[in-house]
Each structure stands twice: as C-alpha cells, then as structure tokens.
C-alpha cells in the first residue's frame, strides 16, 4: 500500500503575531513552529494503518522553506518512511490551488492508494487543499473524518457534519481523506524512532505548480477590531425589561 501524507508547518497559535511589512500575511519573526494539528491526525492515522496492514510505504510531503524539514522529522519519527520536501520559501503566499497543484504534480505518477491530510491549516484555514488535490488527481475525497477503519481494501470513515451529526462513508482506494480533531490521539515519538528518523530519506524538490498561477490578491491583513464585550441579561421578563431600560438610560442617549 502506497500512502501519501501532506503536512504543513504552522506557527504555534500562542505566538505573538505581528503583521508583515507588506500587510499581506503575518511576520515570521519570533514565532514558534509546529506541525499543523490536523495534519498530526493524518500522520497518526497513516502510521496506524501501516501497523495494521504491515505492508505499506508512507511518504510525508511538506511545502515551505528549509525550516519545515524540522517538522517533517517529527512525522518521520512518528513512523513515516520517507520525506518529500518541496522547497518553496514563498509557500505562504501561495493560494490553495497552487499548493494543491504542486502536491498533485508530485503524486500523479506515484500511484498513491491513500492520501491523508489535515482538514485545514491552523494558520490560513482555507480547508481547500485536500479536496483540490483529489479533484486534480481525479480521485474521490472524503473530508473532516473523525473515524477510520480499513479492511481488505475497503475503507470506512466517519465524517463530522454540521450541527453535530455524523455520516458513515464507505470508499475504496484511491482516495483523499482530510482529518479532523477527534480522529485519534497522535503518538509521542519514541527515542529509537527519533534516531532512525534522522537517517530516513528526505528528498528536496523544486516547487512546480504545473502552470497553475495565482488567481487572487490579498488586499489587506489586519487584526480584528477590539470591541467591548457583550452583556447577557438574566431573569424573568419584567425584570429584564427594567434592567434594559436602566442600561439604556445609563449608557445611551436613546431615552433622553
């Protein structure tokens, strides 16, 4: 079984974010970096599948500047077999379709049975790359999976839908699956596996979107305006009415 896992390196969300000089994205200074949370579920599920079927080869792919190889090493330590780094220092400027085109370009002649990725990235959060990869490769995609089982070529996944309902989907390979919180608890790499990861194959490739170019432009990038907190009034109706009148009198001029 040939499996591809697409991961992204993102800033830790506790970081102090600043807007970059162009006003188009966040500034990279003073940020701590880690694997996109949803991609961790993807890596974990792929490794579990390999542990189940034994005969599987796991390629982890990541697009970005050289520093992303640090995050790729974690995926290799968790159990991926090889890494493919598409070295693109400007990856943060790419649109989802460009990223998807680079991945599809890499994957098209490699006969992946399964492609796991996160349902979205924690920084851009477009949730488009996975499905676009599937579209470009002409394979089905099942998004936001929170459950996965594999039995003799048949995959059954549980999808999380709006409003808390779930859907069970049965698919066969090849397929792209995007992973959601709740799918699994990613493992902590063991030391022997961290050591082994250092020696695993890590290919570096040039970015190639196969002619797909940008279609959008970031007009502005800004922090949300700080607003005063809301106020929830509690009590029975006459009491609520009194409180409201009181507030309107004190804080506004509408009743004046």
């Amino acid at each position: 079984m040939n499996i591809l896992i697409c991961i992204k390196q993102v800033p830790d969300m506790e970081s102090k974010f600043k807007i970059n000089a162009d006003g188009t994205w966040y500034d990279r200074a003073d940020l701590a970096w880690r694997m996109n949370e949803y991609d961790e579920y993807a890596v974990e599920q792929a490794v579990r599948l390999k542990e189940q079927v034994k005969d599987a080869d796991l390629t982890v792919l990541c697009i970005g500047p050289d520093q992303v190889t640090e995050t790729m090493k974690k995926a290799l330590a968790m159990g991926c077999d090889r890494g493919a780094h598409i070295a693109d220092p400007d990856s943060s400027k790419r649109e989802p379709i460009e990223i998807a085109a680079m991945i599809a370009g890499f994957a098209k002649d490699k006969n992946f049975d399964l492609i796991f990725t996160g349902m979205q990235s924690q920084d851009r959060g477009s949730a488009q790359v996975g499905v676009m990869v599937a579209e470009l490769l002409g394979v089905p995609a099942v998004t936001t999976i929170v459950g996965f089982s594999y039995d003799n070529g048949t995959i059954q996944v549980k999808r999380e839908l709006e409003g808390g309902s779930k859907a069970l989907v049965t698919v066969t390979t090849p397929v792209v699956l995007t992973c959601q919180l709740g799918l699994n608890t990613p493992r902590y790499p063991t030391l022997p596996n961290i050591m082994k990861a250092k020696k695993k194959e890590l290919l570096t490739l040039a970015p190639d979107a196969g002619g797909v170019g940008p279609r959008q432009e970031t007009a502005a990038f800004y922090f949300p305006e700080k607003k005063g907190g809301g106020l929830v009034l509690e009590g029975d109706v006459p009491e609520l009415a009194d409180k409201l009148i009181q507030l309107l009198k004190e804080k506004t001029g509408v009743l004046a």
Binding site: D12, D30, A32, Y188, L191, P192
Partner: protein, 664 residues
Amino acid sequence: MEFTREIYWNVGHGFTTLAPMYGLLLVALAVFVLGFRKRIKVYRLGQALDRTDRRGERIKHLLETVLLQAKVFRVPGAGTAHALFFWSFFVLFIGTSLIVAQADFTDLLFGIKFLKGTFYKLFSLTLDLAGLVAILMLAGLLVRRYLVRPQGLVTKGDDALMHGLLFAILITGFLIEGARMAVTEMGTPLAAWSPVGWGVAALLAGVGETELRTLHLGLWWFHLLLALGFVAVIPSTKFRHIVTTSANAFFADHGPTGKLTTVNLEDESMEKFGANELTDLRWKDIFDADACTLCKRCQDRCPAYATGKPLSPMQVVNQIGEIAFATPEANLIDTVGREAIWACTTCRACQDICPASIEHVGKLIEMRRNLVLMEGEFPGEEVMAAMEQTEVNGNPLGMGYASRGDWADALGIKPLAEDPEVDVLYFVGCYASFDKRNIAVAKAFVTLCQAAGVKVGILGKEEKCCGEPMRKMGNEYLYQTLAMETVEIIKGYGVKKIVTTCPHCFNTLAKDYRDFDFAIEVVSHAVFLEQLVASGKLSIKAEEFACTYHDSCYLGRHNDIYDVPRNLIRAAGGRITEMAKNRDQAFCCSAGGGRIMAEEKLGERINIKRVEMAVATGAGQLLANCPFCLTMFEDGVKGANVEEQLRPRDIAEVLAERLAPTNS
C-alpha cells in the same frame, strides 16, 4: 586470689572439643560463603556501576552508618532499640572473640592470659550488661512487632526466626554462665561482677553439682550450635542485612544529591533506554533489595503513599528483589505498576531517611525513561501535551516563547542579548516567567536585587525550561536537548554567577548540567538574598509577622538548605511556627518529579494535605521558596477552603515589602 575464670570449664579443651567446634564453624562459614556466592551472581545480573571509588569517604560513611548506627538512630523508638541491640550484640561478639583469642591462641600457643585481674572484672561486667541490654531491646522490638503492630509493618516468617534465634542465643548464654557460676563462683567476690549470671546462679541454687555440670555441658554445645546456625543462615534470611546493609553503606551514592545519571544519547549502538527488565537496572539496584530490612521508614514518609496512591518505595525495592531472585524474566514495569511509577514526586524523603543507603528514586526514573523513550507513554495526555509545548515553546505551560521576558519590561532589566555586562544572571524559570502568581515573586526578587545595587540580567526569550520536570518524568531526550541549548547560550555570554528563584532550576543547573561541561556558580535566591543582607548591601526593616515555613524538597533534602531561609524570615521579623513535618522530614507539595505537569487523579490531594498542616500551625502565612510549591499551595488553599486563613507567599515577597528606605 586472681580474678579470672577457667575458659572451657566443664567442656574440656582437648581435641574432642576443638575438633568438632572448629569443624562446625567451618561448615557454618562454608554455608555462609556459598549462600552469598549464589546471591552475588544475582547482583551481577545488573549493569556495571562503579561504587568502589572515593574509598576514604566510603569507609568513613560505612563506619558511621554501621558502628555509630547514625542513620538507624535518626528515628527514635525502634531505631534506638536497634542501635542499642546492635551495640550490645557487637560487644558480646567482641567478648566472645577475646575468649577465643586467649583460649585457643595466646594461651594455647604462648601461655599468655589477658582475661584476668581488673580487666577481667570489667570484661565480665560489660558482657553481662550487654547481654541484658540486648535481651531488653529485643523484647521491646518483639512487643512492637507482634503486639503494637505499627501500621504498614510487614512481618514474615524470617522475623519470628530472628527473634527466636537471638533470644535463644542470649538466654542460653546466661544459663551457661549461671550454671558455671553456681558451681565455681557463688560466694566469691567475683560473682558480683557478673550480676545477671549471679541472678541465674541464684535461681539454680538448689541443683546439685552433677546436674549443673550436665546442664552446662549440654547448653554449651546447644549455644554453640545456635551461634553457628546463626552464621549459617545469614545469607538466606533477613539476617543478611548485617552484611548487605553494612556493605550498602560502603556502596552508597555519594552524590551530588539527587543528580540523575545522564544517558549517553550520542551512542548510536544504544537500542534500549531505561529499564523494563531486571537486567536493565544496575547491580546496586538489585543489591538494594537485599539491603532492605522492610523498616518502612521510606513508606511512612512517602507523600504518594500517605495520600492513598499505589506507590510504596519499600514495595518497589522489594518487587525488584522478588524479580531478581524468583522470576528474573518478569516485566519490571508490569510488576511495579504504571500508577506507582508515575506517582513519585522525587521528593527524596524515602532516600533521605533510608538507613540502608537504598536509592529508590533512580529506579523509578529508569522505569519512567523506558515508558517515555521506548513507548511514548505518559501518565496522562496533559503530560504529553506539556512535553510537546516544551518542544515548541520551551515551556510546559504552552505560552509563546517570545513573551518569556515580558514580565520584566517595566523593571529596567534587560536580556543579556542587549546588555551582557551584569553582576548576576537571573535564570527565571518557566513559572516565574509566565505564571501571574509567580511573576510577582520574580518582580519582588528583582526589586530586592536593585535595592542592593546588584545589576541583574535575564535571558528573556532566549531562556528555555531547564528541563527538570521533563527529565524527572523520564524524558531524557527532551531534557538533554534543552540542557545543551541552555548551556551553550549561558556560556556564550560569559556569565560568572547565576541566581534562581526555582529550586528545581537551581538543582538542575548546579548539578545535572555538570555533565555538559557547565561549571558556572549557581545560587538559590534564598542564599543569595541572605548573603546580601549579611553583607549589609540589602537592608530589611524587621516588621513582626507570624508564619510557617515549607522546606521545598529541592532546597531542603536535595541541598540541605534549611537555616538560611529561616534566618531570612527572622531578619524580616517573621516568627516561625514549624509544621510537624519540617526540614529533612518536610512533606512534599506534590509538584516535584515532573508532577507539576500532571493531574493528580489518584487518592487524596497532596497539596491539600500540606496546606492543612500549615493551617494547623495557626500562622496566617505559609512561606515558600519554590514556584511549584507556591502554585500548589495557592491551589491547595482553595481546595481546602482556607483562603481566609492561610496566605501562601515566597520569602522574596515578604522581604520586598520590608525594604528599608535607602540612605538618600
């Protein structure tokens, strides 16, 4: 009249006595040697460890521990009885040796007798009294074990055998003496020098000489058999502690106290880390099991055990012994149990009190290392998350690393990256950097330094966790990564002196980092502030207040710093009411051993128990010296619902409130 007695009286000193006697002695010694030979083979299943270096220190420690019973004596009651029993039995042993030396060597070969005259009188009296003391102490211990039965005391068949054999040896000894005296000494001035023997002889007054002689001869051989039997059973019964516990005093860990062994992670041939099998442990860990006497002092002081968690340090040591001698293939971790392994706070109360020089903490850490490094297992998901946070942001709290120095913004101190010319580097630690409650301590400490004219620098966003909680939790790899980065950064600035407000940072930088070629002086804030006060650089205006003081495990038991913080508190006007468990017996706050990262899910809460001890003193303030303790106590006063009665504070905060106005 010459004051002496005929040795071998009534027994005879010919070949028919000496041949069977020495023959039996040889048999006893052979059984003794073979018994230990078998056990030594088992000890050697463990990994190599050099415990025969620093011989002078080791011999001194051995003599103090064994002959002076220094450690045994620390616990009154049973400890006192054991020490007195040991000394009296030791005197009896020397007395018997002197008799053998004279009768079978100096007199036999050269006609020299030294057991005579005044020396003999004193010899006789001393031995008589020693025998009496031994019987009384043994009786006391018997009452304790079989009638009083202290909670947690494990009594096995061995204990009955030991009591029985020792009583039999001592009592037959007096009976032999009494029988001899009844025939030879009664009515002579010498009898008074053997008061117990005199008493026994008086009881035998009506018995005829022939019967006395028969009784004497029979008991003499019986006593000999008992004594030689005692020698023979030493290796196979708890009597072995006479040899193993004594030897362990020689093999004891000579520190630095609480420093863990550093795993060589550069060694690529290493495929296994930590211990999940007997053979992963060191020989000393197996030997420790044989040195344990089940005295339960460790268990009595273990905060995890005291709050109903499935950990008893004594049991862990003995489970290793059971595996070693009965089921060497057994899985160590399954036998000890994960919950027990994770429950340890590394407070060192067990190791500190152990009269047998056993190292409990290292064994648990080795098992944790195996779980973390080989299995990726933690006591809970929150611990794994804290580990990952530390990998990403350099702190287990998950705060963005770049804001680590923000707390100091308004204080006029700079990171070394901006100004490396400082008197001291303040290694702030994670809690004082990010946790609001502990930031107040950091600020108070800096205020005090500034008042004393000390120029302080910090590492700011370059500082990372020292790695202590991760290391104690078994994550040696993450610890070493953090340690190596920290060492490189600090050395790069040419720092001369480091001060910490966290005893965990202090212990780690001062001891564990030595393995990374790091020799910079590290001082805890309590010691540093006391030096400033003593040298007159820091003036504190004493304003009276009542408090109790908590000895953190890492300043107290790990570094023997007990008086310095108390002096500081008194200098500030503090009246300390001690808690029942203080100084080297202090009760942990629950957060050591990396437990600061873990939820306490089993048993009662340790911190609440400690807070209740503090409340019981009636003092309104609980002074601490450690951010982990302070965090636990702030949580504990809420949990125990005593927020109004007890205010946990760091010593630095109290001092900063009492800064004397400057001379200006």
